[in-house]
């Protein structure tokens, strides 16, 4: 085993830091630390002569561990670590600490105390450096292919983007036709033109002109060489790892050969089975063999196997001029290997029949916006005429009701965001077609927030569409005239109105598409409380999930309009492309590792790991141990904090390394105040400390900072260890409770702090000596307040009496 030789490099930050800290004393002190064989002081170490001195020391074999005290601001550790690696040692044998923002600046008013603290910080860094071990770089292969689940406008566009970029794309849609909601909606705002419209492909699909948009059937989507489209198909299983997903798909038979069908419609004429057409809101009927609308893909009919009589009838087979009907087709199971998965399963209308006072499903003349869209659509069941479903007569008086099941604590508490616009669009289309129509919209609030949206509200008022500010309590029906009566208070008039209507159009909430829950389970991704897929981060990473290689786009994460869906789709395409393009995932092995001898197969860690990176493997009969997947592990250490047997460890943040740091930081006081250990998570917690330092906010030097990947790594006994090493108070500083960068770590830490406080009380130690603080980067002042509060509190409590002090 090589002797450990630590080099310590002290930056005086352009001789500014040395105005506060006594560098001569520091250098003397560091010289005396066992294992230190080389010390350099310079103005900076992240470039120039300073960096060169590190590189030379490594190359000349003078040192094999590097401790650098540098300032944070220039992200110095990136350059240093790069250079060290080139010079020939493992880049993880480097420990960079920040004497500027964590010592010099915040304690500039007490320079001698600051110097003492700096001693402790250097000692801790050296002790940790001595225990560092090389960390390997890992490479995992990534297939340059992707699965897109859901063939609506978002799915089609993300599929097109990735196929254009050269990746192999499998677009899987569970319905017999692509198009999703758009195909049924007819027209979309804000352009008031066709909903079923996507971008032009960039692929070299000959004869397709590259314009801003194309109807799907003319877009050439189906002709892009590396795009495979599977309809009537659904995902039944996904296994494997990011970059190498193994997907099982169940493809239901169409019973019609897509290559042969010429859309002549002879089959429907002879089919004896007729049912209400769900696609057209049951406003008309369809046969067992049918086509929804002829302008989406694939251009072939399909047979509804639930109602078809198959060989007992087969009349369609007889009349089909191209023998396209194949009644013997069977369900296929397909297996695909893909590198990434993109979820674009969209949303659907909430079933308003549960709101019984509105009689949806009960009174035929109460319909929803989607059903109205089918009526307005020229392709639709009424050829564009607005009629009462009950008797087919023209509907002249129409009342529209917003927020049906939205903004409703009983059903869906959120606002579905697009319904105001949809209803305004519909009201205007109806009014344009029938200027004598009497249309009233009952609303709680009108939400027209997007670009060009307010124009709709303006125009609607100018066209004479009425607005009633009130949510109706119920819809009743006059038994004699069959007219609907809507009871609503117009709050602005402070008057209860009984609006008569031929037809009432409800704007139901938009809810996640059916099967969302099951798909989330299959993929191992989370749903939010509202039931939609959860984005990795709502602010910055709206098209990713916490799992590498799985992306989200379109209405699957929340209802959105077409422009936003497009944005979302293209964003997901870029993210997926970034993931796929190099053909590999490169990670370091700062992951968790299990000591199989200790592992008790309690199953806590597989359940706790937010990334599903831990599984149980049978190593001998009936004996299971936990195994960590390096590709899935994100290095947070929450598993370490959970294991009751210390059987799992995080490389590069091992318990002995942490212990050494604690001891080091508590080894020198130099202030007349009680020592406080502040254990900060590497994300928001540590950032808040940085921020306080950058702003030169002042706090006392008895507060010592230690960084861990995530506060979730901490175990209860480590809190006690902190006290034993000399801390009189311990602060745990983490991200906001609902903002842990590793999903659940800070919440787990909060629980452990609670538990430890109970134990402290039992041991006769004031529980207030341990406290959890949550903050984010811009709350540097919060850190300073916390440090001061804790210090004052400890001063009041007096010295800590422990049974045994090591």
């Amino acid at each position: 085993m090589d002797e450990v030789k630590v080099g310590v490099f002290l930056s005086d930050c352009g001789k500014q830091l040395s105005e506060i800290l006594d560098f001569d004393t520091l250098i003397d002190y560091v010289k005396k630390i066992a294992g230190v064989s080389f010390i350099v002081r310079s103005s900076e170490f992240w470039r120039g002569k300073g960096l060169q001195s590190i590189v030379d020391a490594v190359r000349d074999g003078k040192i094999n561990r590097v401790v650098v005290a540098e300032s944070l601001v220039k992200l110095s550790d990136v350059k240093i670590v790069e250079a060290v690696e080139k010079a020939g040692i493992n880049p993880y044998l480097v420990e960079v600490i920040n004497l500027e923002e964590h010592c010099g600046w915040p304690h500039r008013n007490t320079p001698s105390e600051a110097t003492e603290k700096a001693k402790a910080m250097l000692f801790a860094a050296v002790e940790r450096a001595k225990l560092l071990e090389p960390i390997e770089k890992l490479e995992f292969p990534v297939l340059k292919s992707t699965l897109v689940i859901g063939g609506g406008i978002a799915g089609m566009q993300v599929a097109e983007d990735l196929a254009d970029l050269g990746f192999k794309v499998h677009l899987v849609e569970r319905a017999p036709f692509l198009g999703g909601l758009a195909a049924r909606a007819g027209r979309f705002f804000p352009t008031d033109d066709c909903a079923i419209c996507i971008q032009s492909p960039a692929s070299d699909v000959k004869t397709i002109t590259h314009t801003s948009r194309k109807c799907v059937y003319r877009s050439g989507l189906s002709e892009i060489p590396n795009l495979e489209i599977l309809t009537n198909s659904k995902i039944i299983g996904v296994e494997g790892v990011p970059g190498n997903y193994k997907v099982t798909i169940e493809k239901k038979p169409r019973y019609v050969n897509e290559m042969k069908c010429v859309l002549c419609d002879k089959c429907t004429a002879v089919c004896p089975v007729e049912v209400p057409d769900e696609y057209n809101a049951k406003l008309n009927t369809r046969k067992a063999i049918y086509m929804n609308i002829p302008n989406v893909y694939p251009p072939a009919y399909v047979i509804d196997e639930n109602i078809c009589k198959f060989h007992d009838c087969a009349k369609c087979v007889e009349v089909c001029p191209t023998n396209a009907i194949e009644l013997n087709q069977e369900t296929e199971q397909l297996k695909l290997d893909v590198g990434a998965i993109i979820v674009s399963t969209g949303f659907e209308e909430f079933d308003a029949s549960v709101i019984k006072e509105y009689h949806y499903g009960d009174y035929p003349d109460v319909i929803t916006n989607l059903e109205l869209a089918r009526m307005i659509d020229g392709f639709g069941p009424t050829a564009g005429k607005i009629v009462k479903p009950s008797n087919g007569k023209p509907a002249k008086k129409i009342v529209m009701i917003q927020c049906v099941g939205s903004r409703d604590r009983r059903w869906n508490p959120y606002c579905s965001s697009i319904c105001c616009m949809i209803s305004l669009k519909h009201a205007m289309l109806m009014k344009s077609a029938h200027p004598d129509a009497d249309i009233a919209i009952c609303y709680i609030d009108i939400r027209t927030t997007g670009r060009e949206h307010e124009y709709y509200y303006e125009q609607a008022r100018e066209m004479g569409i009425k607005f009633v500010k009130g949510r109706p309590t119920e819809i009743s029906r006059d038994p004699e005239t069959n007219r609907l009566i809507v009871d609503v208070e117009d709050a602005l008039l402070k008057k209860i109105l009984e609006l008569e209507a031929d037809m009432v159009v409800l704007a139901p909430a938009m809810i996640p598409a059916e099967g969302t829950k099951e798909l989330a389970e299959i993929l191992g991704i989370e749903l939010c409380e509202d039931g939609f897929f959860k984005e990795y981060n709502a602010k910055l990473r709206p098209t990713e999930t916490k799992l590498r290689g799985i992306y989200l786009c379109g209405g699957a994460t929340f209802p959105k309009d077409a422009p936003t869906s497009s944005l979302h789709a293209h964003s997901a395409a870029v993210k997926a492309a970034k993931f796929l393009t190099t053909g590999k995932i490169i990670k370091d092995q700062r992951t968790a590792v299990v000591n199989e001898d200790y592992c008790g197969d309690c199953e806590f860690c597989p359940v706790t790991c937010p990334y599903g990176a831990i599984s149980l493997e049978e190593i001998s009969e009936g004996h299971f141990v936990a195994k960590v997947s390096d590709i899935l592990c994100e290095g947070c250490g929450i598993c370490v904090g959970t294991c009751p047997l210390n059987a799992i460890e995080l490389r590069h943040s091992r318990p002995d390394q942490m212990r050494a740091q604690m001891r080091g930081l508590m080894s020198v006081n130099g202030t007349s105040k009680p020592l406080v250990l502040a254990i900060c998570c590497s994300e928001c917690g540590h950032a808040a400390v940085d921020s306080s330092g950058m702003a030169m906010m002042q706090y006392p030097a008895n507060v010592r900072i230690m960084k861990v990947p995530c506060t979730g790594i901490l175990q209860v006994h480590q809190f006690f260890e902190a006290f034993k090493t000399g801390a009189e108070g311990v602060m745990i500083v983490g991200c906001k409770s609902d903002g842990c960068h590793y999903e659940v770590g800070v919440q787990k830490a909060e629980k452990k702090v609670e538990l430890t406080r109970m134990l402290l009380k039992e041991y006769g130690i004031a529980p207030e000596r341990l406290e959890m603080f949550n903050m984010v980067f811009i709350e540097g002042n919060k850190f300073v307040e916390a440090a001061q509060t804790m210090t004052e509190r400890l001063e009041k409590l007096g010295p800590l009496q422990l049974m045994s002090v090591s």
């Binding site: 927020c403 604590r409 709680i444 009130g470 949510r471 309590t473 119920e474 208070e489 402070k494 209860i496």
Partner: protein, 171 residues
């Protein structure tokens, strides 16, 4: 009643007074949609009663106006509003809470102080006359069991109800 469950919002004095009372906890959920008004059998017949307005005025801190109005006594407790409210505001209970405050502050319709006296007297809100009691045996009804007046009085004393009523009588 969502006692103890509701987050106290930083409203102001009057809305706080309501939300911190039994029955009034859900006041601040209201977003003024008016569903309660169109459900209300009383609001249909008179402009004088509008539950949405009562809540609005309470949220706007118009305590004197709300407490001294006849309006808050016009609710017939049918709970239609509470049943249909999309924000699960317990409207009928909120009105009870407001009435409770009104009672404490001395804004009391006569008939309510009569109810209070009646219950303090013999444990019942409606007096059962001696005549009716005696008639029971002649028509085949079993005799009435004694009313738990003592227990009731102890409860009324524990909640301060009896003091409330005394204050009213003295007023």
């Amino acid at each position: 009643m969502e006692y103890g469950k509701e987050q106290k919002t930083t409203g102001s004095e009057f809305s706080n007074a309501i939300t911190s009372r039994l029955g009034g906890e859900t006041l601040t959920r209201c977003y003024q949609c008016g569903t309660c008004v169109s459900s209300c059998p009383v609001a249909r017949l008179t402009d004088e009663f509008n539950p949405r307005e009562i809540i609005k005025l309470s949220l706007l801190e118009e305590s004197a106006r709300v407490l001294s109005s006849d309006s808050i006594w016009l609710c017939c407790s049918c709970y239609s509003c509470q049943e249909r409210c999309p924000q699960k505001v317990e409207i009928a209970d909120v009105i009870y809470a407001i009435r409770n405050i009104a009672f404490e502050k001395g804004y009391i319709p006569n008939i309510y102080s009569e109810f209070a006296s009646a219950i303090l007297d013999d444990g019942r809100i409606v007096n059962i006359s001696k005549f009716m009691e005696q008639k029971r045996s002649t028509i085949g009804l079993p005799p009435l069991t004694p009313t738990g007046v003592d227990a009731l009085r102890k409860i009324l004393s524990a909640t301060g109800f009896d003091k409330l009523q005394k204050e009213v009588e003295e007023a």
